[in-house]
């Protein structure tokens, strides 16, 4: 198998990634705390219908989830390319970074230089793009990962796909929004090399939560909610909220050390 070394001897040194902080506005400071409560409320409200019919329930919850995440990233987070980001713009030019990324970056810069007054409106478009990217790239990848971790492969296709989409919306939207399609940042994200912050903590929490969510399935409690993929999605939501909280406060700036 051919492997290429990128981390070993990069052509241009890249500044080490820095943790993301939410925007220094009052609304951001406020909403970053309200957001997890809204997410959990939404999930709790939808839970009975998800248990009753996972496909319909999860599909119906996906739209409000996307709306909440758009609101969160637009209000609270610095978009990709912004100075407070991980430095997506000056990373090495990875072949995959196409026009889309530049477009997001340029818009950002234009908005950024124009001042804070038109902030929210200008941030909605990158936020929507993040949703699209999460849906088209992250959701299939996460679904594949779910199958790899034991999700049924011959049945329950819609269930697994929706489960993957939920995890993607929770974990990937904020990350896409702040890091764009910077290959290096994503590689670092997979290799656990990014510093922990609100956004990355959310991702780690959601993924670990989904993994732990599999634990109750084999128990003989004969509950409706033990069916696929309710526990996984529940674990992802709870994990996301915990990870966000810990990543934004106690563990902020820490790195996962091996």
């Amino acid at each position: 198998m051919s492997t290429t070394v990128i981390g070993g001897a990069p052509p241009k040194p890249r500044p080490p990634p820095t943790p993301i902080s939410h925007l220094p506005t009052d609304s951001a400071r406020l909403y970053t705390h309200i957001h997890p409560l809204l997410l959990l409320s939404l999930y709790t409200y939808q839970f009975p219908s998800i248990v009753a019919d996972p496909v319909a329930g999860l599909a119906a919850t996906l739209v409000p989830l996307a709306a909440l995440q758009i609101a969160y990233v637009a209000v609270c987070l610095p978009p990709t390319g912004n100075g407070t980001g991980s430095g997506a713009g000056n990373g090495p030019a990875s072949g995959g970074a196409g026009g889309e990324k530049r477009k997001i970056g340029e818009k950002k810069k234009a908005n950024g230089s124009a001042g804070k007054s038109d902030g929210i409106g200008g941030r909605i478009i990158p936020a929507v793009l993040s949703v699209l990217l999460s849906l088209l790239v992250a959701a299939p990848l996460l679904t594949a990962a779910l199958v790899l971790f034991g999700a049924p492969i011959t049945t329950h296709h819609a269930h697994t796909l929706l489960c993957g989409a939920h995890i993607a919306f929770l974990a990937a939207i904020p990350l896409v929004y702040v890091h764009g399609v910077d290959g290096a940042a994503w590689r670092d994200a997979v290799a656990l090399l990014l510093p922990v912050d609100e956004v990355y903590g959310g991702l780690l929490g959601a993924v670990c939560g989904a993994w732990l969510g599999a634990v109750p399935i084999p128990l003989d409690w004969d509950r409706e909610w033990q069916k696929w993929p309710v526990t996984i999605v529940t674990g992802a939501y709870i994990g996301y909220v915990f990870g966000r909280l810990l990543g934004g406060t106690m563990l902020k700036g820490k790195k996962v050390m091996f």
Binding site: G7, R187, A191
Partner: protein, 934 residues
């Protein structure tokens, strides 16, 4: 270092001691009373007006006892049953039907013991069931109704069917023909072997008991479940045999006083398996038949077919205990009740005796015999024949022993009363005592030896603490060490959850997935693979995902779709399966030929010169070697084909019939012996050659592990022989996992963790679980014609632990950096690399290779340490798993599922702790490690 070795040895020795001490407390060996029972003094001669030795006249003098293995109650009594003749007998009053409650473990040998002795066999009999020739398990010296009937004047017994009876009752039978169940696919031969003797025996009048044990119905269950299309025809076949025997009893003079009993030894669950205590497994049918039965049935309601009692699935008619058969037969045949009996004479049959005193006499003898067992259990309590004043107040006592003493006092009370009282009240009091005694004595709680449980568990915990001191450094805590610890902690917790004991495979699959993904992340932190989907760790994970779906196992989702049962392998598609099996054999043969080629070179004195020849150069030795090992590979493959054609004919659907016929004409035992012999011979040959090579090498140069790899490949061939055909393709996947793992260059702790996870995963992936019913016996008789407990035991272990043995060997090789991809890694296809970055990439690649070689070299330097670290981590795991299972069993000993879930788990923990840890990890691993350094 010496102290460490000492500690580790001590910890290892403590494990089997702990297991055995715990086992003797958990499955106490019940002392039985030796000798045959005799009619003893009845007592109360004056009051009852009987003489001390008087015996009620028995209505029968001959017995036909027909056991149909796994004859569940509904197979006889329900609407859809094929046994219409039996049902007509029930309607006419010539048959008395019951559902006989079989206690767990519901496998044949303990059930036969219960039926014949009337005792409740301990769980220990499960182990003895697999080591049937063990002398403690035979009933030759125990009191049974067989022994009683044989001891009668002109007592002669004949036996046809399952050879379990012949093992339990050696030299008991005048004439016998045992059938063994080698092949579960055999639905007809096993039964025809029994039936062909029946007409002749019915004409003979020299026997007083004929026992038949039919296995075909059980085979159908194991193969295709209770709803198999073969089930109804089999029931009809059994019904016809019943009809033949019954009409002989009606028509033949010498059979007119014959009692005919038809029963199942246990039932089956919806999957057709048994061993546990699901209602289906514990509810076999029990029918007594004779024209004389009208005397007791005339007043009864006679209906058939019927539906089971409301709220139950399989409870037809009255539920009796299986052990009740023994005293009932004793009473009906006029012999003393067997000494160790805990059964109670079935009430319905009292109608055979018109004189009430005969009834009381019968029951009193039964009660006295049960009382003697109760007395032995509670030696401090008063079970005398004199009424003591205060017995009334003992009846409220919370102690079960005192309650029994009180109930016995109740019996003494009514028996001693001079005044004329109703017979029924005496009968009632006797039954009250016997039922209570039966319940108390068969309940498990009184059987534990709690101090031993505590001692055993404590010893295991001590072993864990001793091992802790031998571990590689704790700090700094590495993530792999953390993961290892996490597995151990989670596992100990899960052992307390009955559903996770049943679904243990899910835990291992789940943990293994996470671990393999961690390996990917860990590797990605060092260097990013551009094509990350093809990263070796991801490839291992993909393979793991396929492997875990190969066999559905566990209880909750039993019967769910899996690869083995997919249409891919069945019928005409079985050619796909056989292509994969063929590839597995070709792969092993090819690998072996490489080793043999090297050995030829070694004997030619070319050592060191021709050895380095790369694979693509023509090597005449290689060709010769391939020709030399080809017969072994072909024989092994043919054996697999021949065995499968008999054991699982549905898997050979697409194979040419002529070929199958030819293969079948070869003797299975003979080919198996040829395969084993070939493996042994090859192992010897290659060992000698490698030893010669090692002698010729300079002293300071370490060996290259060629012999270890060769032995690993021979082990693979042996394990293939011991694996069912449908699981053989798994070895191709295992091999790929081994290859990809070897490219990862893992550190020793990671390798041990990987080994642990994959040994467990492969155990469950091969279809095993923590249920007794999942133990596969089919390949345990390969190459064995007679019964040999040691050989069968070894083969049984090898076939059920084949996956773990494979991976423990593979893990040892990886630890010594043998046999993986390291040797062929230099051949890299540069055309795949991008032009522009070519130089940089190549340089990086070379650097990486150099780095890896350094790692390998360094590992070889402190290799002794790597091995002892591996052993101490595996010992820690074994200690923790065994200790947690013991603590769970001890704490949950009153749990509802103790005999169905936790006890089988303990048996498996024994096999892991003693069998696998010592034979696999230490002996096999140690051997491979040692020869790896030649």
């Amino acid at each position: 270092m010496a102290a460490r070795t000492l500690l580790l040895t001590l910890a290892n020795l403590l494990i089997p001691v702990a297991i055995l001490v715990f086992a003797t407390g958990f499955f106490p060996y019940k002392p039985f009373m030796p000798g045959l029972a005799e009619y003893d003094n009845l007592g109360w001669e004056d009051g009852m007006g009987w003489s001390n030795k008087s015996v009620a006249d028995a209505p029968f003098d001959r017995l036909v006892f027909m056991v149909v293995d796994a004859l569940r109650s509904d197979f006889v009594y329900s609407e859809g049953s094929g046994m219409t003749f039996v049902q007509s007998l029930i309607r006419e009053g010539y048959a008395l039907p019951f559902t006989a409650h079989a206690t767990s473990p519901t496998i044949t040998m303990p059930r036969v013991k219960a039926i014949t002795t009337g005792s409740i066999p301990s769980f220990l009999d499960v182990i003895l069931n697999f080591a049937e020739s063990d002398t403690t398990s035979t009933l030759a010296t125990q009191d049974t109704w067989l022994a009683q009937l044989k001891a009668k004047e002109n007592g002669k017994l004949v036996m046809y069917g399952d050879d379990t009876w012949l093992k339990l009752f050696p030299d008991f039978f005048e004439r016998a023909d045992g059938t063994s169940s080698f092949f579960v696919s055999d639905f007809t031969e096993v039964d025809n072997n029994v039936t062909r003797h029946v007409p002749d025996e019915l004409l003979n009048n020299d026997w007083n008991a004929m026992i038949m044990h039919y296995l075909g119905l059980d085979h159908i269950g194991h193969k295709a479940g209770p709803k198999s299309p073969n089930m109804l025809p089999k029931q009809k076949e059994m019904d016809d045999i019943v009809r033949d025997i019954y009409s002989a009893i009606e028509n033949e003079d010498h059979l007119q006083n014959t009692l005919f009993v038809l029963c199942g030894d246990h039932g089956m669950n919806e999957g057709g398996n048994h061993g546990g205590s699901a209602p289906g497994e514990t509810s076999p049918a029990l029918v007594f038949m004779s024209p004389k039965l009208t005397k007791v049935t005339h007043a009864m309601e006679k209906k058939s077919p019927v539906v089971p009692k409301a709220g139950t699935e399989f409870e037809y008619y009255r539920m009796v205990e299986q052990s009740d058969v023994a005293p009932t037969l004793a009473g009906l045949m006029g012999v003393p009740v067997p000494k160790n009996n805990l059964g109670v004479f079935i009430e319905e049959f009292l109608g055979f005796w018109d004189d009430g005193r005969d009834r009381i006499q019968l029951l009193l003898r039964n009660a006295r015999q049960v009382k003697s067992i109760v007395e032995a259990t509670y030696p401090s309590l008063d079970f005398g024949d004199v009424v003591t004043q205060d017995h009334k107040k003992e009846c409220d006592s919370p102690s079960t022993g005192q309650q029994l003493a009180c109930k016995w006092q109740g019996v003494v009370d009514v028996m001693s009363t001079r005044t004329k009282i109703e017979i029924s009240s005496r009968v009632g009091q006797l039954y009250k005592f016997m039922k209570a005694a039966q319940e108390t004595m068969s309940s498990t709680a009184s059987n534990y030896d709690v101090p031993r449980l505590v001692l055993g568990a404590s010893l295991a915990v001590i072993s864990v603490f001793l091992t802790l001191f031998t571990l590689p450094a704790f700090t700094p805590m590495s993530p792999q060490g953390l993961f290892y610890t996490l597995i151990l902690v989670l596992y100990s917790i899960l052992m307390f959850a009955s559903s996770y004991v049943e679904e243990e495979h899910n835990f291992w699959y789940w943990a293994t997935s996470a671990w393999l993904f961690y390996l990917f992340i860990s590797a990605s932190r060092k260097e990013w693979t551009a094509n990350f989907i093809l990263h070796p760790a991801i490839m291992v994970l993909v393979l793991h995902r396929i492997i875990r779906r190969w066999n559905q196992t566990g209880q909750k989702f039993a019967g769910a779709d899996d690869i083995v049962h997919s249409p891919l392998f069945h019928g005409s598609y079985s050619i796909v399966l056989w292509t994969m099996i063929g590839s597995a054999y070709v792969d092993v043969t090819n690998r072996l030929s490489r080793h043999v080629a090297r050995s030829i070179a070694a004997f030619e004195g070319l050592s060191g010169v021709a050895l380095g020849a790369p694979d693509d150069e023509f090597d005449p030795n290689r060709l010769m070697a391939f020709i030399a090992v080809l017969p072994l590979g072909v024989t092994a493959f043919l054996f697999k084909l021949a065995f499968t054609a008999l054991d699982a004919p549905e898997l050979t659907g697409g194979i040419n019939q002529d070929l199958l016929n030819w293969v079948a004409s070869l003797g299975l035992v003979g080919i198996a012996r040829m395969v084993f012999g070939g493996i042994a011979l090859s192992a010897f040959w290659i060992s000698v050659a490698e030893w010669k090579r090692a002698q010729g090498r300079r002293k300071n140069v370490d060996g290259n592990g060629d012999l270890a790899v060769a032995l690993f490949d021979l082990l693979t061939l042996f394990l293939l022989t011991q694996t069912k055909a449908q699981n053989i393709p798994l070895y191709l996947l295992f091999r790929l996992q081994f290859f990809f793992l070897s490219t990862l260059n893992l550190d020793p702790t990671s390798l041990t963790t990987t080994t642990l996870l994959l040994t467990q995963t492969s155990f469950f992936a091969l279809g095993n679980s923590n249920a007794i019913s999942s133990i596969d016996l089919s390949t345990s008789y390969n190459g064995i014609s007679g019964y040999n407990v040691t050989l069968v035991g070894i083969l049984l272990f090898a076939s059920n632990w084949a996956g773990p043995l494979y991976f423990t060997a593979a893990g040892t090789l990886l630890l010594g950096s043998h046999g993986g991809a390291n040797s062929t890694r230099r051949h890299i296809d540069t055309s795949e690399l991008d032009d522009r970055d070519w130089v940089r990439e190549e340089r990086a690649h070379l650097e990486r290779l150099a780095r890896q070689e350094n790692i390998v070299a360094e590992r070889k330097k402190d290799s002794g340490r790597a091995w002892s670290d591996h052993v101490s981590l595996m010992t820690l795991w074994t200690g923790v798993s065994v200790a947690s299972v013991m603590v769970a069993c001890a704490v949950l000993r009153q749990h509802l599922f103790i005999w169905t879930v936790f006890s089988p788990k303990f048996l498996f923990a024994m096999a892991w702790g003693i069998g696998f840890h010592f034979v696999g990890t230490i002996a096999l691993g140690g051997l491979l490690w040692k020869v790896g350094r030649w």
